[in-house]
């Protein structure tokens, strides 16, 4: 704890060596009586403490990180340094357009790039993350129905394999979420969909390729059915990386999409964010896009706000969303160019299919062996769990000992004992081969020393943690008197 280095009167305030100004014009009853209990440490103590903390993390820069559905690919350093140029960092969000042309040009061009690569008519960059993009998308679906006086539509359909954010976003827009089952081959159960569709259907939220790692082959038919019922189709861009430059959501029949720039456009995940979740729409939803948006009037770049776009679902963040993330994505897109975009899909798909094939050869069971993998795939360890008593969690924890971040575990919920594995395009063949060797080794250990695997990890800064205690005996903040 940084607090352990704290001593009363120790200061790193060389950085702010300004006299403590007089505050007597602020009435005493509005002032703070006791200083906030923040650490009092030297700059070096802080630097050493946080450097050491960083070393307790797995990250893309240090470890293979095949976390399915999260697209943990290389985050180019140029994106960070160019988005951090002094002119960009110093720009106040409310600076006038005369002092915003460089920044707005980047945003405008990013909107155009994203429109093109997704096949949508218009894009707004403002949502701050995928879930906020989902919220914006469903809110636009609702605005569309409301504008037509079509108030009977109260349900959003969501596949049972969907991310939890999908039903949660639907509820935040005042809808009921209704689940649609997935068929045995990984495609959506179209018969069940037909049963569920009706005058109460506002829309459906789909991820394609889906969260089970396969391309929804009957997508055109599904789009037809939903549109026929008067609903709209929402595309969750979580897996856009798999099809970038190959097939476009707009061409599949989707009315509204969000993209996760922190996945497909390689902006950093930052230990949990910030992300960016721009939304794209077809022509009929364009009036409802969230503001602000960047535009070009023929001579200058300008902002479009509530004034110019009165039907907008409104503003989702104080200013323009995660602007710095958008700049990073713009740099990435310019580095890749059009030829680099479809290479993303090609090599992420090549890596996934290669890894799947090698793991199947090594004796692991694929959840959908008859299907082509997209940029990710699912293994199920139900046999190991049943026969050896070593489950997916045990495999995942043991992987940490071998220096690999575990894939996504126990998601999607419909496949028992699953690992969702997404190697991404930036991993080399030898790293994939090494992963297969590690899986073989753990399988061998599970057969011969199951207890050891069940106790893993053994080499991390801590062993398995007591999650039950964490939730029961809440300790959410350091207090001097507790130590």
């Amino acid at each position: 704890m940084i607090y352990e280095h704290s001593r009363r009167g120790r200061r790193a305030t060389a950085q702010s060596n300004i006299p403590l100004a007089e505050l007597s014009d602020i009435p005493a009853e509005l002032r703070r009586q006791n200083p906030a209990a923040l650490p009092e440490v030297s700059e070096m103590q802080a630097v050493r403490h946080y450097t050491r903390l960083s070393q307790k993390n797995f990250s893309i820069d240090t470890h293979f990180y095949p976390l399915g559905s999260c697209t943990m690919k290389y985050n180019p350093r140029a994106c960070n340094s160019l988005a951090s140029l002094p002119g960009f960092l110093a720009r106040h969000p409310l600076a006038p357009d005369t002092h915003s042309q460089g920044f707005l040009a980047c945003l405008y061009e990013l909107q155009e790039l994203l429109k093109n690569v997704t096949g949508m008519s218009a894009v707004s960059l403002s949502p701050a993350a995928g879930a906020q993009g989902e919220f914006a998308g469903v809110a636009m679906i609702r605005a569309y129905h409301d504008a037509r006086g079509d108030h009977q539509r109260t349900e959003i359909l969501v596949p049972d394999a969907a991310h939890g954010t999908n039903p949660a976003s639907a509820v935040m827009c005042g809808y009921k979420a209704r689940e649609i089952p997935t068929g045995r081959n990984g495609d959506i159960d179209v018969e069940a969909l037909k049963q569920a569709l009706g005058p109460q259907t506002a829309g459906i939220m789909l991820t394609n390729p889906s969260t089970v790692g396969v391309f929804e082959r009957r997508i055109k038919e599904i789009a037809g059915l939903v549109h026929e019922a008067g609903g709209l189709l929402y595309y969750d861009g979580a897996n856009l990386n798999a099809i970038l430059g190959k097939v476009r959501p707009g061409d599949m029949g989707f009315d509204v999409i969000h993209m996760n720039l922190h996945k497909t456009f390689s902006t950093p995940h930052g230990g949990g964010g910030p992300g960016a979740g721009p939304v794209g729409v077809s022509q009929r939803l364009a009036p409802y896009l969230p503001v602000p948006m960047a535009d070009y009037d023929g001579s200058d770049y300008i902002w479009l706000t509530e004034k110019e776009r009165p039907e907008s679902i409104g503003r989702l963040s104080t200013f323009a969303g995660n602007a710095g993330v958008l700049l990073r994505a713009y740099v990435y897109a310019r580095l890749l160019g059009r030829e680099g975009m479809h290479r993303v899909a090609e090599f992420s798909t090549l890596n996934a299919n290669y890894l799947l094939k090698r793991l199947m050869e090594a004796g692991f069971e694929a959840a959908y062996p008859q299907r082509r993998a997209s940029h990710e795939f699912i293994l199920t360890l139900k046999r190991q769990a049943k026969e050896l008593g070593v489950n997916t969690m045990d495999f995942a924890k043991r992987m940490l000992d071998y220096g690999v971040h575990a894939p996504t575990t126990y998601f999607p919920l419909l496949v028992p004992e699953c690992l969702l594995i997404e190697p991404t395009e930036s991993e080399a063949k030898e790293d994939l081969d090494r992963f297969v060797e590690i899986m073989r080794t753990i399988q061998h250990e599970a057969e011969n020393q199951p207890e050891m695997v069940k106790q893993a990890p053994h080499t991390m800064p801590v062993r398995r943690l007591d999650d039950v205690r964490a939730a029961r005996e809440l300790d959410l903040a350091w207090k001097a008197d507790r130590e």
Partner: protein
């Protein structure tokens, strides 16, 4: 190929292992009629050197003017160590700490962050961040509606002294859940929440009262009385505060007889650069009894199999990946990296460093408004104590004055005309600890010339008939 390591040999071997003869064959499940062709409208890729040239030119184009705008984003000094550490790959390129054993760095840092935020706000618990100040307030409103068991209403009292952009964001986010936002007027003389307007709602059923401190005008609200009023009327109190100001102002946990119930705000003043408005981070703190209604990640301290202390995501049954449609919010990805910067920033500054920074900002803003008020026809609009922003009234249309100042590379403040049309020629100005006496003098002398030129040649003014 940028960021792809495959050699020709690798590709051949991998295709051979899969048993297909081309990469294209891997897309054979996608119906052929859906495949897109070359995306002609997307430019071809550029080498890093070229993109670097382009971005350098664009960044320079925006000019780095002298900035006296605040209005929710503040230009503060950030110690060099903050971002050098934050952009270490181990922080920058990790994700949500799902594998706790391999994420103790991020998890412990977030626990330290929660500890610092609760210390700063005098609240019991903090989450690990939301997107920004405005969306944090929207989540606080939803949380209050869920948490206030005494209230049967979905109504919230939202003062007009709250940031106008926050009011718009809250409206966009909560309106589809049938929540009604009722605005409360401000007092023309003081710029504070109008107590009479508030008293008109006494005894009515509202889930919560929102109290900004400082408010959008920079003015300090009478937080003790407002909190007590809300509690007397069975409403929860949602404090919206500037976290830097909390180093010198009474923290929400100590407001009134019992303290505020929920506290949120914009974390930007704690180590995030202006950067066109983001990424910043929203913080959200509350009393312990409300923690299960809180949205977002929360980190708990626990022990491992050997009894050694460790940190983990906790109370996950509130969250979308477990509870799906019954979650407290849809939030998944938050603003982790910005919180990393904020934590390191608070550790380096300490309570006293933040106090110095806050007090110097207060002091500079007072100097600025005194200097500007020495000009004929310029005067402060509200007669109330402020933190580090103040509303001034100009003798000429604010929009024209600000435009002319901007042409001279001074961003003179935020024009209140659009959001408060009743305030004539009013500008919200701010001077943080970074604004020097010379810069303040530059602003004063330029404004002097702008006023002189406009007053002398009224034909330049746009007639409003």
């Amino acid at each position: 190929m940028p960021f792809i390591p495959h050699t020709e040999d690798d590709i051949r071997d991998m295709l051979g292992a899969i048993g297909v003869d081309s990469i294209d064959a891997l897309f054979d499940e996608i119906p052929a009629e859906l495949r897109c062709g070359e995306l002609e409208a997307i430019p071809t890729g550029l080498p890093e050197m070229e993109v670097s040239r382009l971005m350098t030119a664009r960044a320079r184009e925006d000019g780095q003017p002298l900035c006296f705008i605040g209005a929710g984003a503040y230009d503060h000094h950030i110690p060099a160590a903050v971002w050098q550490l934050t952009t270490r790959g181990e922080f920058y390129t990790a994700y949500t700490p799902y594998q706790a054993e391999a994420s103790q760095g991020t998890l412990q840092l977030l626990y330290e962050y929660q500890s610092m935020m609760t210390a700063l706000t005098a609240m019991d618990v903090s989450n690990a961040s939301l997107y920004d100040g405005a969306s944090a307030l929207a989540e606080a409103v939803l949380m209050a509606v869920r948490a206030n068991r005494k209230s049967k209403s979905n109504r919230i009292l939202l003062p007009r002294t709250l940031h106008p952009l926050y009011r718009r964001v809250v409206r966009s986010i909560v309106r589809n859940q049938g929540i009604e936002l009722v605005e409360v007027a401000y007092e023309a003389g003081t710029g504070k929440i109008d107590r009479q307007a508030l008293d008109a709602h006494a005894g009515e059923d509202f889930a919560a009262l929102v109290i900004p401190q400082p408010n959008f005008f920079g003015v300090l609200e009478d937080v003790d009385q407002l909190t007590d009023w809300a509690q007397a009327n069975a409403m929860l109190t949602i404090a919206v505060v500037n976290p830097l100001a909390m180093s010198i102002l009474k923290p929400p946990g100590e407001w009134g007889a019992q303290g505020a119930d929920i506290c949120c705000g914009e974390g930007q003043p704690l180590g995030a650069p202006l950067a066109s408005g983001g990424p910043y981070f929203g913080f959200l703190c509350c009393r312990e009894k409300l923690v299960r209604q809180m949205p977002g990640r929360i980190i708990g301290k626990t022990v491992d199999l050997d009894g050694k202390p460790g940190y983990t995501l906790t109370l996950q049954a509130r969250e979308q990946h477990i509870r799906r449609s019954k979650a407290t919010s849809n939030i998944c990805t938050n603003q982790g990296l910005m919180v990393t910067a904020a934590t390191i920033h608070m550790a380096i500054m300490g309570g006293e460093g933040l106090q110095r920074m806050a007090a110097a900002s207060h002091h500079n803003s007072m100097k600025l408004t005194e200097a500007l008020s020495s000009l004929p026809g310029v005067e402060p609009l509200f007669d109330s104590p402020v933190f580090h922003e103040r509303v001034i009234k100009l003798p000429i249309p604010a929009q024209d004055a600000l435009r002319t100042l901007a042409a001279h590379n001074v961003l003179g403040g935020f024009d209140l005309g659009d959001d408060y049309p009743e305030l004539e020629n009013a500008v919200l100005v701010c001077a943080t600890e970074l604004r020097s006496d010379e810069e303040i003098e530059q602003y004063r002398s330029k404004l002097e010339r702008v006023i002189a030129s406009q007053v002398q040649t009224p034909c330049q003014l746009k007639p409003d008939w």
